[in-house]
């Protein structure tokens, strides 16, 4: 497939089994996002890409952990590298540490994205700076699976400042918030490690959420919306 075709959205060819897997995923029921955290499954995600341009750069890796009933389940985690036709530049490799060899040997993109979907199920997604992860994953889904990935996300980059308005000005990056709660990171800029740190941040926000009696995914969304309206009034 030429770069041009890819950019203008030629329909990718899926195998029969890939089509079946996609359908099976789509047919799953939607969860109730109003359930409290200690009775629900949430997926926290982070991606690594060839760069920061959401229109041109492409998805290299997805890392995800689950928070089930309020706890992070270590084994229920995903660390997946998408096979790359063109290995990203040296500067980029130095950031996420996924070398050329690993990029070439990754999972076929369609299979990798299907594996992600199967891992995700219909659980709601959480990330820090959702726009980026959402666009990168969305574009890859469109390109390799040929469908619009419309999922429910909540963004901790808005939730955290909504809970700690007095800190909002100084705390903008994930690193800053991790620092506030003394959260470590075993490998910063590895998708899975960053997903874990984001999930730990979610757990650390719990006392504030409890204090406001906002203990469901839906209430995270409400907080996020509230914060967005404050910072970018329409």
């Amino acid at each position: 497939m030429s770069l041009l075709k890819q950019m203008f959205g030629a329909k990718p060819q899926l195998t029969a089994s890939q089509v079946d897997r996609l359908r099976a995923w789509r047919d799953q029921p939607e969860p109730d996002t109003r359930l409290p955290f200690d009775a629900s499954r949430l997926v926290v995600v982070d991606v690594e890409t060839s760069g920061l341009d959401v229109r041109k750069d492409h998805l290299i890796a997805i890392g995800a952990v689950t928070v089930v009933n309020g706890k992070i389940i270590l084994a229920d985690s995903l660390d997946i590298v998408l096979q790359q036709r063109y290995v990203s530049g040296k500067d980029n490799i130095l950031i996420h540490g996924i070398g050329g060899e690993a990029q070439r040997q990754g999972m076929h993109p369609a299979d990798a994205l299907l594996a992600f979907l199967e891992f995700l199920g219909k659980s709601p997604l959480i990330a820090f700076h959702v726009e980026f992860d959402q666009s990168m994953i969305g574009r890859a889904m469109k390109a390799h699976l040929g469908f619009r990935f419309e999922h429910t996300w909540a963004d901790l980059a808005y939730v955290a400042p909504a809970l700690y308005p007095q800190l909002a000005r100084r705390y903008r990056s994930l690193d800053k918030w991790m620092e506030l709660f003394g959260i470590g990171n075993y490998a910063r800029h590895s998708a899975l490690a960053d997903a874990l740190a984001t999930a730990e941040l979610l757990l650390a926000l719990r006392p504030q959420l409890e204090a406001r009696q906002t203990m469901s995914f839906q209430s995270l969304r409400d907080l996020e919306r509230e914060r967005r309206l404050q910072t970018h009034p329409i």
């Binding site: 706890k71 992070i72 270590l74 995903l78 730990e200």
Partner: protein, 631 residues
């Protein structure tokens, strides 16, 4: 769960866990099994993690980050009720999980905490799978101690144990480069230099530092003084040329052999033609001197105080070597005490030979730590005398004859490195040189009045032990005390109140009751609580042993202390003793004066944990004391 290879998160968890006991000793396969079953939970500062009300424990927790405190008394739990403090890598609650019951302590996050959590079911499965894990859970303190011992052995084995063998290379016993000079140096300068450095020989070296001659103090008489040579002569005129040399890899016994064969007193060690070291006859002797048998026989056969002074130094050297070889603290303190006993005995024998005291029947008493057979290397004198009064004489008369004798012995002990007691608890003090009846009266007053000073005295004197002379006098006093102390529960209560004023520290880093200069007093905070409790319980139950470990063993049954609890008390006590010995050894190496103060940060992670556990045991024993005497 997953059959695929573990992902980076599982591997990172594995790496993190393997930094801590017992995970560092577990097989990788078991660690992966564990990591794949862990969840990660968060507890905000102040939040309760698990408590007795929650019923049977559901999870095994390993601290990923943060500090957890355990509070034993849930009803009266206050902020200062913390009784143990757990840090990164530590796990809880073990006892409750093993016996499938609720926890007895309340565990609370004392700052924001992340914990790895394993279900109780998986925890039990893991104890069956992994022997290392099982061993850790069931014999926590014993297990940690074993590990610590291995580390100590590894640390010391190179530095000293090797040095002590005749089959080690010369390079192992050379401490520094010898002092040398040019052969043309005038004799006067050479002799001045030898005097200044207190050395017995001077080596002459050429411009390339190759040894060309040796000159010893022995040579001064025959080659300089008697021939009447001028001190302006160059060294080259009187030195012995072409000294005997050996390479660094030659063995110590080769040097000994060469000395014996050729009658040399010195051998030079030369590497690539350059002078590197000097081995003297004395160095070789000292290698053989400091065995246990050698030291004790040297003491038994010593004819002069100077010999005993050397023996006293040898005892310290021996203790250091044994510490290095990983000899347990119990044996080590007993060996030190036994050798010190021998030394004291010999001092008394020599003194009696010099200045006999005639037919007076007396017994020299060891008090305090010496009485308990728990001497470390930092011990001043604590002793007394007990005597019988012959018919027609008075206690004053006998005392007047014994005091000068005792004074000389105290001074001799001082000369051997046992400093005079600052508190004057010595046999030469008329207050502590008493007849059997006088001792009984003194003890009786302490027991019935129980003034602060009386209580303090009883902690030193009630641990008395006969050391030399008429043992039956000491035995009679012990029997009297056994009966009297047991009867007086008010006195026991007072002792308990006094003992409970000295609380062992809580945790390790924060919350620590740390004294001046960020230090912990191992003796006061660590040893004393065990010693005091063991003494009080022994007095109360008519146990006559004075050694703390023996006391702990003997009180277990009458007090209904479970055997494994008694064992844990003993282990904890011994660990703190071992730390003290190590501390003293390190201070000796650095040429510092000996103290019991240690900076907790200077201990490795494992030792910190054991020490914390040892303090916890001390608090547990104190709690028992408090309950029994309603303090």
């Amino acid at each position: 769960m997953t059959s695929t290879p573990p992902n980076s998160l599982i591997l990172a968890t594995l790496d993190h866990l393997s930094r801590f006991a017992p995970f560092d000793r577990m097989e990788r396969e078991h660690l992966i099994w564990l990591a794949e079953r862990l969840s990660l939970g968060y507890y905000a500062k102040g939040e309760i993690i698990t408590s007795p009300e929650q019923g049977e424990v559901s999870h095994f927790l390993i601290i990923k980050q943060g500090v957890v405190q355990g509070e034993q008394d849930v009803v009266r739990a206050q902020e200062d009720a913390a009784w143990l403090e757990l840090h990164e890598g530590e796990c809880f609650p073990l006892g409750a999980l093993l016996s499938k019951r609720p926890v007895t302590s309340l565990y609370r996050a004392s700052e924001d905490v992340f914990c790895y959590e394993l279900s109780a079911e998986d925890f039990l499965a893991l104890t069956h799978k992994s022997e290392a894990f099982h061993d850790f859970c069931t014999r926590r303190i014993a297990n940690l101690l074993e590990q610590s011992k291995h580390i100590i052995q590894a640390q010391y084995s190179q530095s000293s144990a090797e040095q002590q063998s005749m089959s080690s290379p010369l390079s192992a016993i050379i401490r520094r480069e010898p002092i040398a000079c040019d052969p043309q140096t005038p004799l006067r300068e050479v002799l001045e230099s030898m005097n200044r450095h207190s050395i017995g020989s001077m080596i002459a070296v050429d411009a390339n530092h190759k040894p060309v001659g040796i000159f010893t103090l022995h040579d001064v008489l025959s080659r300089v003084t008697l021939p009447g040579l001028s001190l302006d002569m160059p060294l080259a005129n009187v030195m012995s040329p072409n000294p005997f040399t050996l390479p660094p890899h030659a063995l110590v016994h080769e040097a000994a052999l060469a000395m014996a064969k050729h009658g040399f007193r010195h051998i030079l060690m030369v590497e690539n033609g350059r002078l590197k070291g000097l081995i003297s006859e004395k160095d070789l002797f000292s290698l053989q001197r400091v065995g246990l048998r050698q030291v004790s026989s040297a003491i038994r056969n010593a004819e002069r105080l100077e010999c005993l002074q050397q023996s006293a130094r040898d005892i310290r050297e021996l203790a250091h070597n044994m510490l290095a070889q990983g000899v347990a603290a119990e044996q080590l303190t007993q060996i030190i005490s036994t050798l010190n006993d021998l030394l004291t005995n010999r001092i008394i024998e020599l003194e009696l030979r010099e200045n006999p005291v005639g037919d007076i029947e007396f017994c020299w008493l060891a008090l305090g730590s010496e009485g308990r057979l728990e001497q470390t290397l930092n011990t001043d004198q604590d002793n007394g005398l007990i005597f019988s009064v012959p018919a027609g004489s008075s206690a004053e008369e006998v005392r007047a004859r014994l005091l000068p004798f005792a004074k000389r012995i105290n001074n001799s002990l001082d000369a051997c490195g046992f400093p005079l007691c600052g508190g004057e608890v010595m046999a030469s003090n008329p207050k502590w040189c008493l007849s059997l009846d006088e001792w009984k009266n003194t003890f009786d007053k302490w027991i019935y009045h129980g003034a602060p000073m009386d209580l303090l005295h009883s902690t030193i004197f009630f641990d008395f032990r006969p050391l030399f002379g008429a043992q039956h006098l000491a035995e009679a006093l012990r029997e009297w005390l056994r009966v009297e102390a047991r009867k007086n529960t008010r006195f026991q209560h007072q002792l308990a109140v006094n003992a409970m004023k000295n609380r062992p520290p809580l945790g390790m880093v924060r919350d620590f009751v740390i004294g001046e200069g960020h230090t912990l007093d191992l003796k006061l905070n660590g040893i004393t609580p065990f010693v005091d409790a063991a003494r009080i319980f022994s007095l109360a139950h008519g146990i006559t042993a004075t050694n703390t470990l023996q006391r702990l063993r003997e009180i277990a049954e009458p007090l209904n202390i479970k055997p494994h609890d008694a064992e844990a008390y003993g282990d904890a006590f011994l660990f703190i003793q071992l730390l003290r010995l190590r501390l003293h050894h390190e201070q000796t190496e650095r040429g510092e004066s000996l103290t019991n103060k240690v900076n907790p940060d200077s201990l490795n992670n494992l030792d910190q944990r054991i020490l914390k556990e040892a303090f916890r045991q001390a608090r547990k024993l104190q709690t028992k004391l408090g309950l029994d005497y309603q303090v």
